[in-house]
Symmetry: D2
């Protein structure tokens, strides 16, 4: 029995049935998530947003268990049965779905060229991780099942995949509530008790599916979609957060370019030398991932990256030193919105001239940022490259017939066609007054 | 104009009148507080408690301004006048009162031998800090005034000292509310709106004093004292947090002993070599503090210490490597409560034998911890070494006569005589099964 | 000085400056609002929704004062000046805007044929009310000004009219927050701190206007519109609440028809005899309203109506007795949605036949209800019969230029064209199984 | 399946297993509780406190079900078994525990001379009530069991009695949270999630008992006791609420004295003629209670009493008319605290003289009030007339050994010996300036 107090869910308690979860929580790989902030660099704008991926992961496991344990009258469908059958699998996947995340999430992915999902899979499958060992001790072959479930490659049950990863899943439910509370931004709050109360397990084309009660669930689904929209607009795509993310990316790129190193931290060397990227070229799959790559990656956390930036302020390359200093003291790049390529190019040219005059590399100081084109995790707001059927939120009527939310809701219809994308040119604020 | 969203106060906005605060917030010394957790190692027990001293400092400035700007009908006393006179001073001191804090607060103080208050003073007085320069730009001699106010050496107004630092001050008000929310521990919540509403400015022996309305403020004062009592009992003195703090202290001590260093980080070397301690011997006062000491200290943050622990896991000294590994993976020492010196000595002897058998230094693995005897910041629960008149909470009746809360309240009387102290012996959990 | 504790705003305190408000609160007409529920019959569905119009009126005055007292940097516009000039007028109007409400608001209006606004005006202007006397004691002619302001006939300042009565006013702000909390329905919650923070006083076509900051206020305005939409959909138009409202209306109509009376309560007689309705024919204006009409109306409250229903359960007319019994024991009519006049007529005919067979008047038991066509107070969701310029929510950019929210926001555009109307046929549930 | 939204518990949902509860909720006797305010006249001070005994009763049933359904690892004790056996009994009793309450609770009891508990019992046992019929339809003899459980005459299980009625029961848990939220008083809030989490079923002297986990439950128990203490001090015993209660009592006494009646309301006549009191003389037991007494009593609700007061304002007895007017317009008696019988008598004599001079009955206008001596429902704060073992809160250690909270907690020890009693003399405020 292990209980946590939590600002979002108040009490998160795992009992005797959930010993597997408790054992997983105690692994080095899950404990590492304590050192990775959920919102990367957003705390630079929202000073309360210091929460870790660890507490988020606990929250997702908690919500998943609440959903699975809810007593839904009359739900004797195949889907409900399937979910009960896969209870431990779902809980393990809920807890572990983020273990591959590195510090400063998207900025780091831009440097390594590897999406964190690849590391999640590799950590679960690698025989050397504690997580793998705990899963296999629970049941032989269990690690492979968990990895496949997280990868959405789980034909045994689409419903359970969607519970963890779809437009309206337990992952998003936790992060919206948590990010809204911690940022204090007030936009992301919706009635999670009601949401869990009106969620349903139905069937679509003979397949078990997760959805909502048609009569009572449409408004909460709309509210949820709107919350997500606002959180993107105001928090995740915040102008200054994007500045910080872009600055981190360029600082690390510069560090790699000038061959910077941080003695005592082989992981940092691997990152900057591109060793992690090379691994990608060869494919980071369960079978082939070199343990050395995973073990280096496991050392990467917020502390190491911030410490590296601190050390780089004394680097002999003045560009690297300057870029690092700016991040530590929150001297963030100014950004101007541009509405056409011509406008972008005018700004890039103008600032490029200033950079040249100062003898500074434009690649480090003048950046064209298209946030919507980045690999953001959320696609409902725009188009979707994955299997689009995973993206549908179903509403079930009393007879079990399903309608898609966007067909039913003029609100969702209106939001769906919006792209929360931005095009900006970024550069040092003080350059505005020059040239 | 600058506004922050905050999970505790929702909106913290500083307007045109508060440009001084905005300038101070932008200094490197205040920005550094983003990298220092308010609760040091408590997040190891309460995973939500990741909030920084930066956001706490904003909260204290916000509450101080709310108190000062509250329109108190009929408060035409000298005290009220004095507070208005010192408005900017009070706000600056509220924001800066914690800038001297280092990472892992008390554990670090045990290593440096210097209390963080000394660094706060030194930073404010040192001509080279940005904070000093902003204060002096506002008014000549202002830095000295702010420093004296924080040091409680401000005979110009006892009331304003007490507003910032007394049994019921804006500092504690913010940290209780914030720590309660972030830990999720639920004990520290009290009605801050009512508290601000019933606070009064009165006089005691001809001196302006801060207090509460007698008729309407006693219960909220009691509730506040009880909240503080529970937060000490359950959060600040939590058994596992104390284990982590003690482990950090012994790990750093061991690192110093074996001459460990972290290349690229002169601050770490200064810390482990005792250079910061030596500074203390010579007195860190405004006049004499070496800039090098301050500038090294300014680099110490949570990131650096956690990164150092990571590097030390590979140190050639197996004791240092082991101690560091335990912290990173949350393998915390077990602790047993002891109720007499005899009992303590029995445990120390038994565990000392196991250490010896294993060839390990008992100083690093077997620890006698008396939390109450530590330099904890709160003294109302026990006795007080400072000027006891600063420790009194006054209740003012309609005629302005003051009574001390503890004389009026049987609850406070009951709590006051309690010491929330603990005596424990700590050692590795797995040793319980041996010897 | 008078302070109230409130579940919505926590502390509502009126100080020395607001003695006028305190005097108004103590009048019989304002105290009467304690006996009128804000949500009429909604508590029959949402059992927590028992809050009175009294506490709502305090809330509106509180929000108005917060808006007026907010220190808006740089707002030196004529509008800001006008608002400060009319401070006491705005506060009095905010407190008194609802004093004309009767019990079971819309159901009663259907019986009296008089909208509550008429009584509000009459009470403020009638020399015999305490409210009038307090207002005139404050300043001669003040009552007339307050009445005109509430009637939106206040050319001196459109801005102040809009602060109290427009799409985004302090009235709606309080009732949405309050109704959402009390019903527990969770849809109506928005961030009121942020809303007040981003509200602005600007100018449109040379006229002072209330609006929001363009850059920071659009999302909160959308959120507010959405909250209102959901509250209508789920709370105000709730199927069973409408049943209860319709049943009350038909029960009172039947009581009038059979000449029912309630000895000891002249107001009840006046209501049922249509004396209040006749007054309307002759015009309830400031000048002509008979004091006897107002004084009868002042006795109408929730208690009297519920007591009358109780007494009517023993009336010799079995229809009246039955209708009254159904309301007291919450035996609410069933309702079926109809999507065409043909469908409505089929149901009306079918249920009419059952009524006939039972010898019961169809007028009392079979009702065609078109909620959207009722005089609901909110028009933004549909079309508007009043001056449409009062209905516009402005967004002001940094230079003070105004845009209308619906032109700027695709969300509001989408909601605006929706009518939250319903067409239903209502009848006793048990009749479903017959004929 | 029936679900309610609730400001306190958010969602209260009764599912298929709880059809008995749903049927009981639909009875006339439970629906009547919608018309009785939980806090009687407290809304006269706390304008938000309009909540009904109906919503409180739902809350108690909800908490009881949460407690019973909580999965407590390893609780295989007899007590846990007993609780599961009596699940439906406990839930029915939880819902029905207050159905005997009349309007203005204690004021009415002073007039009828009958405690509401007697009516609760009589209603459950009387064959004519809907509640009785629903209970007997569930199981023969069930009504008698429910009545005995509520009367604490249930030797089958002390534990289940204590769950519903003891120092720390589900009734108090709901009303403290609810009254604190609705009054806005902020004192009664404690962490109910944690409370339910640390509650235990143990054994004391071979008997199953309800209690708390020793290691984790002491602080929450203390917090709960403190909340109760403050709610008594500030809300339940509020000076002005007591004035209103005393005024209601004297007004009804005067009405009885002058033979006032309210045509159309036989219940009012029965109340004022003392018919309900006479019934008490003959004993209101299950067997003997006249249906006419119960049926009259069932008509008494807040609406009827307020309407009677309205009608009495026109009564020919000027004293009754004046007393009624004062209540409706919130002209509450002034009260002075007295600290000795001499002081009381001085005030009584002085005000008696004024009454005499005015030709008014002192019995109606000058009152000596000793609130602590009233039959308040809570005894932990003072001494207890009932079986004192019902009053103990047990803490269970890991081995199941029980300690009483007051022996363990210095806080509870300190509060326990306090009597929240008051002695006051009440009279019309304007008399202060006379005589």
């Amino acid at each position: 029995m292990k209980s946590f107090r939590d600002p979002v869910h108040n009490l998160i308690a795992f009992g005797e049935d959930d010993q597997l979860l408790i054992d997983l929580i105690n692994t080095a790989e899950v404990q590492r998530l304590r050192r990775i902030r959920q919102l990367g660099l957003s705390n630079i704008v929202y000073p309360g947003a210091e929460h870790s991926r660890f507490v988020h992961s606990l929250g997702v496991a908690h919500l998943t268990r609440r959903f699975l344990d809810e007593d839904r009258a009359g739900e004797q469908t195949r889907g409900a049965y399937a979910l009960r059958e896969y209870r431990h699998l779902a809980l393990a996947a809920a807890l572990l779905h983020d273990i591959g995340h590195g510090p400063f999430s998207h900025a780091l992915e831009a440097v390594t060229g590897i999406r964190h999902e690849r590391f999640t899979s590799a950590m679960i499958r690698s025989k050397k991780t504690e997580v793998h060992q705990v899963l296999e001790a629970y049941a032989s072959g269990f690690a492979e099942q968990v990895a496949r479930l997280i990868e959405k490659d789980f034909p045994e049950s689409r419903a359970i995949v969607k519970l963890l990863s779809s437009q309206l899943d337990m992952d998003r439910t936790d992060y919206l509530l948590r990010d809204a509370l911690m940022t204090g931004a007030g936009y992301g709050t919706f009635d999670v008790e009601w949401l869990l109360h009106v969620m349903r397990i139905g069937e679509v084309q003979g397949e078990p599916e997760i959805g909502l009660d048609l009569a009572r669930g449409q408004s909460i689904a709309e509210d949820y979609i709107m919350c997500r929209y606002y959180m993107y607009l105001h928090v995740y795509f915040h102008r200054l957060t994007r500045s910080a993310e872009v600055q981190v990316e360029r600082t690390l790129a510069r560090a790699a370019e000038v061959g910077a190193d941080l003695p005592g931290f082989p992981a940092m060397r691997a990152l900057l030398r591109g060793d992690l990227r090379m691994a990608e070229v060869n494919g980071v799959s369960a079978a082939t991932a070199e343990w050395s790559v995973i073990s280096d990656y496991l050392e990467l956390d917020d502390h190491l990256l911030w410490s590296a930036l601190r050390a780089f302020t004394r680097h002999e390359d003045p560009v690297l030193a300057d870029l690092s200093q700016r991040l530590l003291n929150r001297h963030l790049f100014h950004s101007v919105d541009v509405h056409s390529m011509e406008e972008a190019e005018r700004w890039l040219a103008r600032m490029g001239r200033i950079a040249k005059k100062k003898g500074l590399p434009a690649a480090s100081y003048v950046i064209f940022d298209q946030a919507g084109s980045q690999a953001y995790k959320d696609s409902y707001l725009g188009s979707d490259e994955h299997d689009p059927t995973f993206e549908q939120i179903y509403l079930f009527d009393a007879s079990g017939n399903a309608t898609e939310l966007a067909r039913q809701s003029f609100i969702v219809e209106a939001v769906k066609s919006r792209r929360a994308s931005v095009s900006r040119v970024l550069f040092p604020r003080e350059w505005l007054d020059e040239g």
